[in-house]
Structures are given as structure tokens and as C-alpha cells.
Amino acid sequence: MNVGPAAALSLLLRRELCLSFRRPDQLLQPLVFFLIVTTLFPLALSPELTLLREMSPGVLWVAALLASLLSMDGLFKGDSEDGTLEQLALSGQSLGLIVAAKTFAHWLVSGAALVLVSPLVGTALAIPVDAFPIMMLSLALGTLTLSWLGAIGAGLTVGLRRGSVLLSLIVLPLAMPLLIFGANATDRAIGGESAAGALYFLAALCVFTSSLAPLAATAALRITLE
């Protein structure tokens, strides 16, 4: 009896989550990085509220971007090194589905986790509680977009021995709009203004990458598998 795409997707997601939770150190690494960077800023600069509030969107977003990027390198690398990527590729399921499942699961344990701890960071950076929903929404859209972009970079660099630098070089320029509009949305929310424009732009980017990045990442991975 054949396995349909929905059943395969659920199995792949369970596989990824199961593997992530067996390695808590790798799971926590981007999260800890995010927390450390953002809490060091008020200590290093000054705990003055107005200054912090002005800087917080930028600090928050740079830290989120780098934290997400930190874990991107391992997206396909582990499976490629131990040969399980071949087994997945030969499973008869479409490689696009496998890439999408892996990337989404990766976002769940890195991006979504980051969104969940962001109120903690927001408090440390003196972001008002009223701005939290917009901040979290923009981070959710931004990190998901970044995961898709990262999947392309990870697919291209998985065969290289030291691909992580190249991965950053590929992904960071593409992520600049996220940084600009994400920080802008958060900034507006702190100032009590409407962040709708920036959020719409982030959402559009998210839809755009979610639909096209799996194709690009699959093509990249296909080359690596050969």
C-alpha cells in the first residue's frame, strides 16, 4: 500500500522533531545565542529606557537573524553525512516534500521557539508589552522566510566541507529586506503607530519564499545528491 503525501509529511515531521529532541544541545544553541546577545546589549550600553527602546528593534532583529542562521548549516548536513538523505531521496516520495518537511520542522524548533522566548527578550530591551503581539508576528513571519531562504543555501552548500561561511554569504544579502521591514514593524509598534505596511510586506515575502524556495532548495539538493 502506497504512502500518500500527507502521511509522508506527517512521518517526516515526526522524524525531524524526534531527532531534534534527542539532541537538546543543538536544539537550544540558537535560542541561547539569541538570549545572550539580546541581554548583553543593555549591560554593555546603558540601561536607560529611551535609548534601549530606540535600539531594541535593531538589536532584536539582528540577533534573531544570526541565531536562525547559526542552525541553518545543519539542515541537510547531518542526513547527508550519514547517508540517510539518500534513503529519504530514494523513498519514492518527492524530494520537494522532503525538503519542505525538513525546513518546516527546522523552523518549528528554531524560529518558532525564538518567537516564543521573544517576550522575555522584549522585556529586557524595554519593549512595551503592547508591542509584543506585533513583534512576535513579525518575528514569526521573518524567521519562517529566513528558514526557506536558508534551505536554498543549505541545499547548495551541503556537499562542501566548510560550507557555513558560504551559506551566510548566500543567505544574508537575501535576508536584508526582512531585517529592514521586521525592525521597522517592531519600531512602529513600540511607537504606537500602525505596523500594517511592514507586516504586509513581511507576509508577502513569506508567501513568496514558502512557495518558491522549496523548488529552488530541491534543485540544489538534487545536484548535491548526484
Partner: protein, 209 residues
Amino acid sequence: MSAHSKRLDVDQVHVFRGDRHVLRGVSLRLDAGELVHVRGPNGTGKTTLLRVASGLLRPEQGKVTWDGRAIMDTRSEYQRELAFASHEPALKSDLTGVENLRFTVGLKRRVTDAELRAALERAGVAACADLPARVLSAGQRRRVTMARVVAMRASLWLLDEPFTNLDAAGGQLLTQIIDEHLTAGGSALVVAHSALTLTRPVRQLDLSS
């Protein structure tokens, strides 16, 4: 196993790796119930041939057909009917034996844990079902991959050095499992350095010539 009685044809396949001409016009025909034993010194393209036959690698020239259809055109369908065992065990060290099987075999066909445990028992590693692969010995890992091939119930087996790290009993068991697969109408393309002693005639393909 309804899909049996299909034929694999590899026709004048050429593969280049950078400047190296790895496969120089290799052809083979594999009917149901048959086994082709691929031999040759290191670096003659045995593994490359298996990767071409699996559809992982697209040859520069020549083509591979399964049941008369080019495998690259029906890749997903074709790959569902094959079981590939690479020379590395391809197990996740953090997952147990059963989990490793569940997340690979489960993508090919609906399978229960009981079936997977039965396959592990067939390969003589029932005790490893709930142990993480990282604590298993190289031979036990090889047997788990053997169980994975069995559990896939595929028509075509592509095995790359399946006897590596197996003890004498394990080698005999694997030979017996391959024999049963062929008797049931399956076919196999096996890369191995040692001679295969099966109850059925084995065709040889020497890549050094």
C-alpha cells in the same frame, strides 16, 4: 509482491566525474528472479553503477529502463519499488533500530511496528530494536540495514558491499535472505568483492574489463 516479473535494463551508460570517465558504456539486463554480481577493483565505478541504477545519478549517456520505461521519467514510482543499501549503513545514531526503519520504510509503504520488529528478528538483531543505533556494533548496524531492505518488500534490491562487517553467520543469513528474495521473483544487483554462493545461478558483471 505484485510488481515482480519486471525487468531492469541498463543500456550503454556513460558517466563522467569531472575529467574521469567512470562508466564506459556499461550495459546489463536483470530479469525477475535474477541476480547480477558486480565485481571489479576499487575505483572502477561499481557504486556509481548502483547510483545510476537507483535513479540518484543521471548518466551523461545511455539510459536505464524498468519495465520498459525510462526510470528518470517515472522516478518516484520506480524508487518505491526498489530497496537501496549503500556501503554506509545510513542509520541515524540517535534513533533506535525500529525508529530508523519506521522513518525510511514507512515512506515507501504503510508498515506496522510489529512488521519492522519481525524484519529485525529475521536479520538476527531483534535485541537491537529499542537501542539507539549509536551503541550498535558495525556488524549489528549492517544487520539493521539488512532488516530495512527486507521490510521494504521491494522488487529490486540494489546492495553495495552488503557483506562488509558481517560475521560468518551473518554472511550466510544474508545469502539466504537474498536467495529467498530471488525465489519469490525479486531481482538484485549486488556489488561485492567476495564470491556469492547462492542456490540459483549468479551472473557476473566485471567492470575492470
